[in-house]
């Protein structure tokens, strides 16, 4: 087990920078997730940690050992590949035993440890199977056992569940978490699936186009996203371009773009921006208050219903306010599904649920 520190890590392929100026500290025993859309540099970063690529600039430490240029076979990391990379000419036993044989363990020890590892992933009865005869989920478990049996300092998982169907994915997610908690092993988990990231991780790093946008616990990432990219990538949100009007000691006052009249009041601790930079307002659909009666007070708007989507547990309302469409989510209480397009409703953005963030996606990114 060991901590991992990346300092100023940049990786260039020819002139193209796949990872830019990355600084990360991953703690001992932590379940750490790299989350981001496809092509944002997650795999590249993981492969630098495993030693298959070397950073163009920057250093990588395991604990206080500099590993930046150490060969992959000397890093003692256990990696689970996206396609599992099981050796097709070997049995389950031989696959799992491979790392132990390389380490020149005694034969009897190899057998006990392989059996132990296979028991942990609940595959002990398939020990002599050829790996080609296994189902996707079973192959996944063999890959996990093979990585875990060498007692690696770090476990690296590159989208390990993306080749499985939905039900198996849920099952394996629980399995991986259970094993990680059991071994208490520092784990880096790569995924583009936000639900996976939110449910499994101690902490998450959100990537976009080679840059790390935010590091934080799932709650921080969801409730207090660092910018509009993070806010829109994780979960549903309403993003509105705004301008800062004025502020006093406790509150700030903002105006929506294209709306000179209404001023919104927001507690100061709900803002994450620096003055005079382009900003956006983010509010999650479940935080938007809706009412069929007129609402009074700050941060209220009148709108019309555009569409109601019934999803069983909840109802999604799409409400037109001026030029903008606001999404709201209410629990299924039979109040809204009868409502027709064009009916008047009132909505309120409660100040304590609003979150003001820098606008990094650029002009016009929030118009629907």
């Amino acid at each position: 087990m060991s901590s991992i520190t990346l300092k100023h890590v940049t990786k260039k392929f020819n002139t193209f920078s796949a990872v830019k100026e990355l600084n990360l500290e991953i703690k001992e025993g932590e379940f750490f997730t790299f989350l981001g859309p496809s092509g944002c540099g997650k795999t590249t970063t993981l492969r630098m940690i495993a030693g298959f690529y070397y950073p163009t600039i920057g250093t990588i430490h395991f604990g206080d050992k500099d590993m930046t240029r150490v060969a992959p076979e000397k890093r003692n990391t256990g990696m689970v590949f996206q396609n599992y990379a099981l050796f097709p000419h070997m049995t389950v036993f031989e696959n799992v035993a491979f790392g132990l044989k390389v380490r020149k363990c005694a034969k009897s020890e190899v057998i006990t440890r392989v059996e132990e590892a296979l028991r942990k992933v609940r595959l002990e009865q398939l020990i002599d199977r050829q790996v080609s005869q296994l189902s996707g989920g079973q192959q996944q478990r063999v890959a996990l056992a093979r990585a875990l049996v060498i007692e690696p300092d770090i476990l690296l998982l590159d989208e390990p569940l993306s080749n499985l169907d939905a039900r198996l994915r849920d099952e394996m997610r629980a399995e991986i978490l259970r094993l990680q908690r059991e071994y208490r092993i520092t784990t880096i988990y790569v995924t583009h699936d936000q639900v996976e990231a939110l449910t499994m991780s101690d902490r998450i790093a959100v990537f976009n186009t080679g840059e790390c946008q935010q590091v934080g616990t799932p709650k921080q990432i969801y409730d207090e996203p660092a910018n509009d990219f993070v806010a829109s990538f994780i979960g549903e949100t309403n993003l509105l371009s705004i301008q800062l009007a004025r502020e006093d000691d406790e509150k700030i006052y903002v105006r929506l773009e294209n709306d000179e009249t209404t001023e919104m009041v927001i507690p100061k601790d709900r803002s994450n921006t620096i003055k005079d930079t382009p900003s956006a307002l983010s509010i999650r659909p479940e935080a938007v208050e809706v009412s069929t009666k007129e609402l009074e007070g700050a941060n209220c708007f009148q709108g019309t219903i555009e569409m109601v989507q019934f999803t069983g547990a909840a109802e999604h309302l799409f409400i037109k306010v001026g030029e903008q469409t606001i999404q709201a989510l209410v629990l299924n209480n039979h109040l809204w599904s009868e409502r027709k397009k064009g009916e008047s409703v009132w909505i309120r953005f409660p100040g304590e649920y609003v979150w003001i963030i820098p606008n990094v996606l650029g002009e016009g990114a929030h118009e629907k």
Binding site: P72, E73, N76, F98, G99
Partner: protein, 561 residues
């Protein structure tokens, strides 16, 4: 660490490049260089002589080579393409047997094949004489020889290229494409013209060029059948025999240029159009033939085809049972026994060529195996600058006609050099294994490449991640997984080396004669039986090797083309 990787690539690459430059590139350049020496001074005199209107022999040979090759393409296509369609589109009794017999010409080494054709259809051939006797004719109704002989032998051996490339394309065409076209209302003819044919074009063009190049390089057929008829590959041999090395070099250069330009054209064409199917594993469903008449016609064509295809093999077998001296003036042989085979084991002088061939082929193939695996690994799995250059050098022996490879070696290693550790190789034992080795570099590298490309990089990475060093990973993961592909290529190289004739005839030494040379000698002495027995040994070796590849490594013979 990155430097360490780079150093390791260099460590593998440098021997590969040394071998390629020293034994492939340098001899070719040496030939080019030689062609510019004319009567002791440097100049284009040889080329002037080649194209001079006064002595037309060279120009005539060039022209003959080209037009025979074009006709060979036509004949092969006319046999191969329809057969591919019949055997892959329709289901009828015996189909799968006929279709596997269709590749039998591949199991016939060129020299043995030509010999069989001479006995079958030549002046005193069995078939013309049988027809003569059957119908009580005055003279034989037909005989092959000269151009027609060469053409028939070419068509027989080379139609397989068309048959196999077109077959594999037909099998890979997603049937839903044609069905989609029918569904959109297209007629049978329209579907064939607008859908099937365009999809087949790359295969047909590829096979045409392959047949063209092979015909240009063809040596055995003109050597035995032409009788005074000039083709370029043979002219090189005669120039060399007459000691006119400069002209031999010039002819080699011109033949190579024609051959390589066709190869380059083929590469260009294949890169330009890529119609490969995306979806895999869809076997085209074959139509059942319902019309009884058509069905039995097809079966009849199949049966006749099989007989025609097997006749040469059968002839060699029968001839090998005829004791030399018992079949002289008679139309048909009458005495059959195993004496020729017994002699092989009793008479060391008769066994020796077999032993020589096996030894030579073994040494050459061992070299091919080691060199092929390293070269292919570097080419497929390692990054370095100049990969295309190395790749071209690997492919060069494939583009060069065998006669030219032989000439290159004669010119390059007829003198002492560091490449030969200060020896003169020509006239020694080592020149033949070297020639076989060079000839078969492309074959082994290509089959290994195919296997390595199938191997996912992540397997190697997984092993390294689990703590295995490079060599351990290579031994335990890479080698076992690519071995079937490697061995199938290597075994094929071995049988080709056993049957190799053109380079052998240029380079052999008297006390180290391989089988094909001995076949030639026996034919010259009219010892048909002994020649045929040697031929049977070659045929059986090839059959055994193909059987082993197929059974134990699951390799289909057609993949090795």
């Amino acid at each position: 660490m990155r430097n360490k990787e780079m150093r390791f690539t260099m460590f593998l690459l440098i021997p590969v490049v040394l071998v390629l430059v020293g034994y492939v590139l340098y001899p070719s350049i040496r030939t080019l260089w030689e062609s510019f020496f004319y009567k002791g001074s440097i100049g284009v005199g040889n080329y002037k002589a080649f194209f001079s209107p006064e002595s037309l022999s060279n120009l005539e040979a060039l022209w003959n080579s080209v037009y025979i090759s074009l006709l060979s393409v036509l004949c092969s296509a006319l046999i191969g393409i329809p057969l591919a369609f019949i055997f892959n589109k329709y289901e009828f009794p015996g189909r799968s047997f006929f279709s596997s017999v269709a590749i039998l010409p591949m199991v016939l080494p060129s020299l043995v094949g030509v010999m069989a054709f001479m006995f079958l259809y030549g002046e005193s051939g069995l078939i013309p004489n049988a027809i003569k006797d059957l119908f009580g004719l005055e003279k034989v109704p037909f005989k092959i020889g000269g151009v027609s002989g060469i053409l028939i032998v070419h068509a027989y051996t080379m139609y397989v290229y068309f048959y196999m490339t077109v077959s594999s394309t037909i099998r890979n065409i997603d049937p839903s494409l044609e069905e989609a076209a029918f569904n959109l209302g297209a007629s049978r003819l329209t579907v064939f013209r607008k859908v099937t044919l365009p999809l087949l074009t790359p295969a047909i063009v590829g096979a045409s060029l392959l047949v063209f190049m092979t015909s240009m390089a063809s040596f055995s057929a003109p050597f035995l059948l032409a009788g005074g008829f000039r083709v370029l590959s043979l002219q090189i041999y005669f120039s060399k025999i007459n000691g006119n090395m400069e002209m031999a070099a010039t002819q080699s250069v011109i033949l190579s240029i024609v051959s390589i330009s066709f190869l380059l054209f083929m590469r260009w064409y294949q890169n330009r159009k890529d119609y490969r199917m995306q979806a895999k594993g869809i076997g085209a469903h074959r139509s059942e033939v319902k019309n009884l008449f058509v069905k039995w016609t097809m079966v009849a064509i199949g049966v006749i085809g099989v007989i025609v295809l097997l006749l040469p093999h059968a002839t060699i077998l029968v001839l090998s049972l005829v004791l030399d001296g018992t079949w002289t003036w008679q139309t048909y042989p009458s005495v059959f026994n195993f004496e020729n085979y017994m002699l092989l084991f009793k008479d060391p002088a008769i066994w020796d060529p077999v032993r020589h061939s096996l030894t030579l082929a073994f040494i050459a193939t061992l070299g091919n195996l080691v060199f092929g695996v390293i070269t292919s690994y570097v080419l497929v799995k390692r990054k370095f600058i100049g990969k295309n250059l190395v790749d071209s050098m690997v492919m060069l022996p494939w583009a060069l006609p065998a006669t030219v490879v032989g000439m290159n070696l004669i010119l390059a290693f007829n003198e002492r050099s560091i490449l030969t550790f200060g020896h003169i190789l020509v006239g020694t034992f080592w020149i033949l294994p070297l020639a076989y080795f060079i000839r078969h570099i492309p074959l082994v590298v290509r089959s290994t490449n195919a296997a390595l490309e199938q191997l996912d990089d992540s397997l190697e990475e997984a092993a390294r991640n689990l703590g295995a060093k490079w060599f351990y990973t290579f031994r335990r993961i890479v080698l076992p997984l690519v071995l079937p592909g490697v061995l199938s290529g290597t075994l094929l190289a071995f049988v080709e080396a056993v049957g190799e004739f053109p380079t052998s005839v240029l380079l052999y030494t008297l006390n180290n004669r391989p089988i094909s040379i001995e076949i030639m000698n026996q034919l010259r002495m009219f010892n048909m039986g002994q020649a045929a027995a040697y031929g049977m040994i070659q045929i059986s070796l090839i059959a055994i090797v193909l059987f082993i590849s197929n059974k134990f490594f699951g390799v289909k013979a057609e993949r090795s083309l």
